[in-house]
Subunit: 327 residues, 2 copies
């Protein structure tokens, strides 16, 4: 079975990540059965779906009703997974909960691919209690799942390579960019980079160097504009001039030994620091509701994707491929 | 004198950063006298100016000849600075060289603002040997200087507040976003975040977890698209859902204590690691020359700025303000 044969998926765990998966799956014509014990789940799923429809409309991918997969709310993991070809697990990041959920999925369905959205755990650790670990793969998406193309694909020690290939084919069909992570490592790739920035940013706030808004501005008026289209290394290759990467490292490598970060140390999340951050964030963003911020973010990301598509580059190529696939 | 009265600037140090300043100043109608002892400097200045003209044309800010400031190559710091209202210092990041340069500028001109492009040094440290430290300010730009709006503005202990205000007014006139950094700290704000990511990325390459291209893709298909328009905190506020920032920290703060980064430790830049990075970078980007990569980067950044301008958001607002100022 290739990714193209997957017509029915299950979503176990329907917070903002699970709901994002549901929206992306349904807008790609795949039927979804969903399970989440929270009474708020149907509302979260509906809100995220509405955001996704608006964003895809911005992208020129407005869905027609006959192309949107159905949604069925199930009252158990067993019921949600019974007929699925592909199960997405997006429960909170607690290993005991992940294990219990994966065991229940394992018992409910013999041959579906099981894809965990975990941002932190290694697939071999997740698969430990499973009877059929060969079908577990990590497919780690990024919020908003219906809009950002990246999905980190990680196999465990016992994962069948065919499962990785089928999952990757499905992700491509969903308009995503599956990035095969070749080594198992806590937090995979992107979240390690994000965690590094997060720690340093917390220090900057903690030490009163900058507010949350000033840190955000330092990102979005500067290197954020570089990273939407090239990453770290390709950007630095250019900075090295005609001497390229080797010259860049020679010129700036020494800074590694300078006291430019406080990352040897982890800031303590005291109540005071949390109050400071939450208060500064209110000053920065409080004039918008979260719903408004979501819409602003999505309109901007869609506009950036369209701009990059016009330039035939990076994430814009993923969008072009999605458009071509859609026909 | 407000920033608007500055009609003549000097650039001391004309590598890629100094040349970027020269282009931005001249395209904003300001005459520039430049000094750099390197015989390659005139070519660097010409190449960067050509890139800047192409980028501003993409932005709809195509310069007309009568609006472009003149360029004079001087054969000494003294000659370059004699008539300047504003001196930009962009020599390499070595404290002895910065000090010698600033002393020479200090002697050459009595009342110009002296703005250092330093990415790492605190202004109070830079100003130590100056006779007139009150006119030194850090104005730290980001490559490509003619295109990215961010400039970090930092005052030293003895800097005159009026100097900070005049420099900031000039940066605004140049179409930039002056971000006042309220505390002196090595590497200011943005480069601390960049340094944190750089360290973790070096570990990922060093340990064979990911190649330079995989790391770049993890950025540009994912969180890079968020950071071009919102930063870290506003993005996470959304991720916290209706509970906002406080909920987000409660949910994910615990990860701080997990072994998600190796940043307690600094990778050693062995010849082997440098070879690995340079080789992977060649595989990733070697099909483009540095000139081609510059043009690709600039076209993409310009397209993103235009997209954000259409949405009246973030760096797009800086562009709109520049357009309005230009009339």
């Amino acid at each position: 079975m290739s990714g193209g044969d997957i017509t029915c998926a299950a979503a176990v765990g329907c917070g903002v990540i699970g709901a994002g998966w549901i929206a992306r799956l349904r807008l790609s014509g795949i039927d979804v059965c969903a399970f989440d014990p929270s009474p708020a789940a149907p509302d979260v799923i509906a809100d995220v779906h509405a955001n996704a429809v608006a964003a895809w409309t911005d992208l020129g991918l407005a869905p027609t009703d006959d192309r949107v997969g159905s949604l069925t709310m199930s009252d158990s993991i067993e019921a949600a997974c019974a007929d699925a070809h592909f199960v997405v697990e997006s429960v909170p990041e607690r290993l005991d909960l992940k294990h219990a959920t994966l065991v229940a999925i394992d018992a409910a369905n013999d041959d579906a691919i099981v894809a965990s959205s975990t941002s932190g755990f290694r697939p071999s650790v997740l698969a430990r209690p499973m009877i059929r670990p060969e079908r577990l793969v990590v497919g780690h998406p990024f919020n908003p799942v219906y809009l950002l193309p990246l999905v980190e694909v990680v196999a465990g020690e016992r994962t069948d390579e065919a499962v990785v290939e089928r999952a990757s084919a499905l992700y491509t069909r969903l308009g995503m960019h599956p990035l095969r992570v070749r080594a198992e490592i806590d937090a995979h790739i992107a979240d390690r980079l994000l965690e590094a920035v997060w720690r340093e940013a917390l220090w900057l706030v903690n030490d009163g160097v900058a507010t949350t808004e000033e840190i955000d501005d330092a990102i979005r008026y500067g290197f954020g504009l570089r990273w939407a289209q090239m990453g770290l290394f390709e950007t630095y290759r250019i900075a090295g001039g005609l001497g390229g990467m080797r010259h860049f490292i020679g010129q700036f490598g020494e800074a590694l030994s300078w006291p430019w970060t406080k990352l040897m140390d982890v800031p303590e999340l005291t109540d005071e620091l949390i109050d400071t951050i939450a208060g500064q964030s209110d000053v920065q963003s409080g004039r918008y509701s979260v719903r408004e911020l979501e819409r602003i973010r999505d309109r901007n990301v869609a506009a950036i994707l369209l701009a990059l598509e016009s330039n035939d580059w990076g994430a814009g190529r993923t969008l072009a491929a999605q458009r071509a696939h859609r026909g």
